[in-house]
């Protein structure tokens, strides 16, 4: 929206409000009395997120949650990784939120880019991998090891997919005799 701050309904009395320094309580300027939470605008420098489909002009079709569109509008630079890149994608064809290419600076083809998370309509989260991730996240040493194995020691996305995305996901059942 571009406004510096905005009132929201709710969040009063929550522990969430206590830990946010970008949310305050303020009175309605028209009646001087009625209190609500007021949140400061977030303007990320860079946003990176994954989507089902994008075209070469940066138009993006992504899932149901509108947060990706809001994020794209709010951020100064936007990088979208997409399962599939097509030549042309229109709003009519979008399956959920549609992000006009105007907001997007770079599009990257990354099949299974959401792994170990899921990508709505295409694949669910990799629960076994998630369990390993959660276990590794319990302490710094284990997490450093996780990052080394799954991020730093991996040459590129293709290698990540080859090594860590379950084979059944990558190789759909072949026809008999194929």
């Amino acid at each position: 929206m571009g406004v510096p701050y905005i009132p929201v309904v709710g969040l009063m009395g929550t522990d969430l409000l206590k830990r946010r320094d970008d949310m305050v309580v303020a009175a309605d300027p028209f009646d001087g009395k009625t209190l609500s939470v007021v949140a400061r605008a977030l303007r990320p420098d860079v946003a990176v997120f994954h989507a089902q489909k994008a075209d070469r002009q940066g138009n993006v079709s992504c899932g149901y949650d509108a947060e990706a569109l809001i994020l794209a509008e709010a951020s100064r630079r936007v990088i979208v990784t997409a399962e599939t890149i097509v030549d042309r994608l229109t709003e009519k064809e979008a399956t959920g939120a549609f992000i006009p290419g105007m907001h997007v600076h770079a599009v990257v083809h990354a099949r299974f880019g959401a792994h170990p998370g899921g990508c709505t309509g295409l694949y669910g989260p990799d629960k076994a991998h998630m369990a390993r991730y959660v276990a590794a996240a319990q302490d710094d040493a284990a997490f450093a090891e996780y990052l080394q194995v799954h991020v730093f020691d991996v040459k590129d996305h293709d290698e990540y997919v080859e090594r860590f995305v379950p084979r059944e996901w990558r190789e759909p059942a072949r026809a008999v005799g194929g």
Partner: protein
């Protein structure tokens, strides 16, 4: 008639829906979704349902739902939390005495802290009725039951429904009170399994049990609808709603 706890909860929640209102539940909320569809099939044919992230939502994204609620147009919302306390607060964030070093971390409240203040009525439900889930005070307040004076609030929690009992939210006193107990549980059972004072003096009425008609419709027409709602809802319906044999 026989029924499982999920079916019991779906029936009890369906009774909260009013005809002609906009009623909604969140994503991953199979029990209230079944309740909404059951209400529409039985007594609320003009209820407008929003079951987020399924075939039963008028919106393609989540934003219009939150804005509709903020405008005051959401009549009823069903929500659950890991912990619910006596004061109507619920917790979807974390467990542990130190808020900065939680023992367990959950996905968080999403729009919960907003919707709790915006929906005209919120009915909280919990599939587990134990001392660890119904507590005196939650470890972390994701959404607040009470409203300080002069604060903008459009609606409030009205009830808590569990597989053992129903509680109503007394807005004056700002506390939940035991309302009815489901057969076969007793007041002693409820006392033993609830981590807060029940606020009752005398005998407590029995919750009217699911009727044969409510169960029949739940297991036929509603079950059919859940199969097309989304893959996750279909899997739940197949596993949980006993398929009604045709007459």
């Amino acid at each position: 008639m026989e029924y499982n706890e999920s079916e019991l909860l779906a029936v009890l929640l369906s009774r909260e829906v009013r005809d002609g209102e906009v009623s909604a539940c969140g994503a991953h909320s199979q029990i209230p979704a079944a309740g909404l569809l059951l209400a529409q099939a039985l007594h609320a044919p003009n209820a407008e349902l929003i079951i987020l992230n399924t075939a039963f939502t008028p919106f393609r994204t989540s934003k219009p739902f939150h804005f509709l609620a903020q405008r005051g147009d959401l009549g009823l919302f069903f929500v659950s939390g890991v912990q619910i306390d006596r004061y109507g607060n619920y917790n979807l964030h974390q467990l542990g005495p130190d808020p900065d070093h939680p023992k367990v971390r959950f996905p968080g409240g999403y729009g919960g802290g907003l919707i709790y203040y915006a929906a005209r009525r919120t009915v909280v439900f919990r599939t587990e009725h134990t001392r660890r889930s119904l507590v005196e005070k939650v470890d972390y307040i994701s959404a607040a039951g009470a409203t300080p004076p002069d604060v903008l609030r459009l609606g409030n929690p009205t009830k808590l429904v569990t597989p053992k009992a129903c509680f109503s939210f007394d807005r004056q006193a700002g506390v939940l009170r035991l309302d009815t107990i489901h057969s076969p549980w007793t007041l002693a059972d409820i006392r033993e399994n609830t981590g807060f004072d029940l606020g009752v003096g005398g005998p407590v009425p029995v919750t009217p049990a699911p009727s044969a008609e409510e169960l029949r419709v739940l297991r036929s027409a509603v079950r059919e609808k859940m199969l097309i709602a989304s893959p996750a809802y279909a899997a739940w319906a197949r596993g949980t709603l006993v398929e009604e044999q045709s007459a």
